[in-house]
């Protein structure tokens, strides 16, 4: 054991032995390790925190505990087999991972997806955004002592997962998006069930607000805590609800033209102060806006094919296999070798529930990508955590971490 008062080196920093002195203990800076397995870190995140009493003086996030080398593994898979891999990065917003990768490949091979696929993708992305925000709201409110919120949020989350299961056969990690469109059209009865959900969701959001908006404990824990200025957030590359809560109306759905978003009428909620309360308000307002997008996309859902017809990249329909030799050959080639993508590289970014989710794909002409890289918003946003927490109480740090909403599967990849 080290002597009291000395620095003990540990991975990611040094640990100051707390010492045995009694008089100077009030002002001594003590380094505390939080995590990696801690309920309040929302995953396998480790924090090395310098504390002076209860006040955070410095903080270093240590990450990499769930690094599984997905980007490297993708280099050994044909393009269509990469899709289920990338879904498992940010395991709460899997539809967004799929869209980032499929969209990037589609732009590389210049494959236009049919309008119905665009609308279906928009519907599922926005359902996934509501799902992701519900998981965030439930777990963060749980951290702040509002235990019942978790059950209310997970009730609606379960209905979204039921919808995913109905359309794709899986509740999570659905592999529903394909290069060229979506794997299957929505089944009979899906629309009615979705309309029921869309009609009910705004009432449910009102319930959440009724539970939290006048909750004295919740308000005093969130208001005025974790403030970072808009300029500093931009310097740190923070995007998504965190940036919008600081008053910057930046949303890739509005800024860039992708999927059916240009045809949708929705608002971008922004905050004013940029504290944890604004972050909560922005995300809750986004759930309502997402519901509106789902409803509009369902109303305007065009008829037609749900996946592109290009047989070089898209599997032929099952019915053709028994009648057409050519379809059988295409099917065989696509399943065994996969399709080849000509040399090129692309960076395609979409607005995920946490900010700018970018996918970089480098193609070398073979049937496997030479590099797949994800610019994960959780990974970049985590850099703002130090600014949010230094100078605040350790209890506010836990609140800020919840409001930051990092998904460690996405951070570590």
């Amino acid at each position: 054991m080290a002597d009291p008062g000395t620095d003990v080196p540990v991975v990611g920093g040094t640990f100051r032995h707390p010492g045995t002195g009694t008089s100077e203990r009030e002002t001594e800076v003590m380094t505390v390790n939080i995590g990696p397995h801690h309920p309040a870190t929302h995953g396998v995140l480790r924090l090395v925190v310098d504390l002076e009493g209860e006040v955070v003086r410095d903080l270093r996030p240590v990450i990499g505990y769930v690094h599984t080398g997905i980007e490297k593994s993708c280099e050994d898979k044909s393009y269509w087999k990469v899709i289920p891999f990338v879904e498992r990065m940010d395991y709460v917003s899997y539809f967004f991972q799929m869209e980032a990768f499929c969209g990037a490949v589609e732009r590389l091979i210049e494959l236009e997806i049919p309008p119905r696929a665009k609308y279906l993708r928009t519907i599922f992305l926005e359902l996934n955004r509501i799902h992701s925000h519900l998981v965030w709201l439930g777990t963060t409110a749980l951290d702040l002592g509002a235990i019942s919120m978790l059950w209310y949020c997970f009730r609606e989350r379960d209905r979204i997962l039921d919808l995913f299961e109905m359309a794709a056969g899986q509740r999570m990690h659905t592999r529903y998006f394909q290069v060229g469109g979506v794997i299957e059209d929505i089944p009979l009865g899906f629309e009615a069930k979705l309309r029921e959900f869309v009609a009910e969701m705004p009432l449910r959001v009102e319930q959440y607000q009724a539970l939290l908006d006048r909750n004295e404990v919740f308000l005093s824990r969130t208001k005025g805590t974790g403030i970072v200025s808009r300029e500093r957030l931009l310097e740190l590359g923070v995007t998504g609800p965190l940036l919008r809560a600081a008053g910057e109306p930046w949303d890739l759905r509005k800024a860039f033209d992708y999927l059916a978003y240009p045809e949708m009428d929705f608002k971008v909620p922004v905050g004013t102060v940029g504290d944890n309360y604004d972050r909560y308000r922005v995300r809750v307002a986004e759930m309502v806006e997402s519901t509106r997008i789902v409803e509009q996309a369902l109303d305007g859902l065009p008829e037609g094919p749900h996946i592109a017809e290009d047989r070089k990249y898209v599997l032929p329909p099952r019915s053709e296999l028994s009648t057409s030799m050519e379809a059988l050959i295409h099917h065989f080639k696509l399943v065994t070798e996969g399709y080849r993508v000509g040399p090129g590289e692309i960076y395609y970014a979409i607005e995920s529930p946490r900010g700018e989710l970018g996918c970089f794909v480098l193609a070398d002409g073979s049937a496997k990508p030479a590099r797949v890289h994800f610019r994960d918003p959780s990974f970049v946003n985590l850099q703002a955590f130090r600014d949010m927490s230094v100078g605040s109480y350790i209890a506010d740090m836990i609140c800020s971490l919840g409001m930051l909403d990092p998904i460690l599967g996405g951070v570590d990849r």
């Binding site: 690094h67 593994s73 050994d76 931009l234 590359g237 960076y347």
Partner: protein, 199 residues
Amino acid sequence: MPDAPGLELIRGEIEAAHPGAVVDTGFAQGRAVLSIDPAHVLTVLGWLRDAPGQGYRFLSSLHAADYLPSTPRFAVHYELLSRDRVERIRVKALLEDASPAGGVGDGGVEDDPARSAPPSPATGPAGQNLPEIDSCVGLFPTAEFQEREVFDFFGIVFKGHPDLRRILLPDDYVGWPQRRDFPIGGEPVTFTYNERNYG
């Protein structure tokens, strides 16, 4: 995105101020790409950020790619974004491999004596020379984690980075796993206790 003539204008203006900075320009899939000499990375990024009429003030993403077997072997990509004009531009700093003879599973295709012996070579755990580039954390603080990630996976050293350590892999890890000559499955099994005793 700046269109193809717009990209040539940018190239011309950078060339006028910093001769030799731009190596090549490319325009594919509607994306503008500016390939630059790594020695000028900070001047080019700073110019794109601050010059009037440019305003690429937001660094969306910083990542690297290994172009083995072509030369130069590595490229660090800077995805810049102008939020006022909603335009993206990619700056690619092309880097030679600094260790032509050595390193993990060397492909044996690199031979460029001009850059293989930098004046102050940073060395990796295996003692091989690593490619170097200036860190842009001073211009874009968001690059801190992302440069650490590139160092972690490609062994590209960012000079002037405040805290250049491995970020996702363990500190004592040997090798640069995202390089193309690093084999998949080249990872030894760490927890072999059960295998040894009961396997």
